[in-house]
Symmetry: C2
Subunit: 158 residues, 2 copies
């Protein structure tokens, strides 16, 4: 079993730095501006491996001394989402940083209902099953939402 979820005590700064580096790369490639606000929001999203709501981000920005209104946060989220740097978790109305913003993928999200962490999988079996099912019913896929709630391995075993 390969746990998708990060180990306890992992070096989270590394996650954040790597995510920032990837984000910069993607923005660069897309000729999109990774402005201060976008970087702040992105960094806040990466503060944990949980999904974060727009208003939690708003509060965090306020706590940092920024006086910011909802549209500002939602715009940053829209930007980040469109570039694939962040995914919206529909069943939580919350946002989650993407590990692999540089490749197209149908992501699948495991959401632990105990610790709240989220992990993204890019599982070809699942993707193919979805594509095949769609083909079977003559359906043209534009977007998919696959969210799986339950207990991560840590929470199930402790």
């Amino acid at each position: 079993m390969s746990d998708l979820f990060p180990k306890k005590g992992h070096d989270h700064d590394r996650c954040v730095h790597s995510a920032l580096a990837q984000a910069e790369k993607v923005c660069d490639a897309e000729n999109a501006r990774f402005t201060d606000m976008r970087r702040k929001v992105f960094t806040l999203i990466w503060q944990s491996h949980k999904a974060v709501t727009a208003y939690e981000l708003l509060d965090a920005l306020t706590a940092e001394g920024q006086r910011v209104q909802p549209p500002t946060v939602y715009r940053a989220l829209e930007f980040l989402t469109e570039l694939g740097l962040v995914h919206r978790i529909e069943s939580l109305n919350a946002y989650f940083g993407c590990d692999r913003p540089d490749c197209e993928h149908l992501g699948q999200y495991f959401i632990c209902t105990d610790c709240g962490r989220v992990a993204e999988a890019v599982n070809e079996d699942m993707s193919n099953a979805v594509r095949k099912a769609a083909r079977g019913v003559g359906f043209t896929i534009e977007a998919t939402t696959v969210e799986i709630k339950g207990l991560c391995h840590d929470c199930a075993t402790h």
Copy 2:
């Protein structure tokens, strides 16, 4: 190809009556009360093959002369959802009537972005792929959300 979506001009009364009959059966089996309000909400949900928001239901009830507040609708939805008579479509914040309330299943939803219709699939390939992926990462499933947006066959070809 077997289209999941109902044919144009199908006898929709039959859908509604069949759904009501199934709902009654399930409520009976569960010793749950299919009250007037619950039946009204359920019937309204089945007025189309689209997903319906709570406030659309509220408006429809108001139009019928009922003066109803949000909690009333949300309670009916909670009841129907818990019995599996209705599913929540997370990516639409809307509710959709279930065809197969009598058997446990991990449902998958195809949502046409053109005509707005929704169709539920119970595809074992998809379900198994999800279960297998979860097993592979030591994840214990509690609930799944699989929602596929795109064009239904009718809309793709017309």
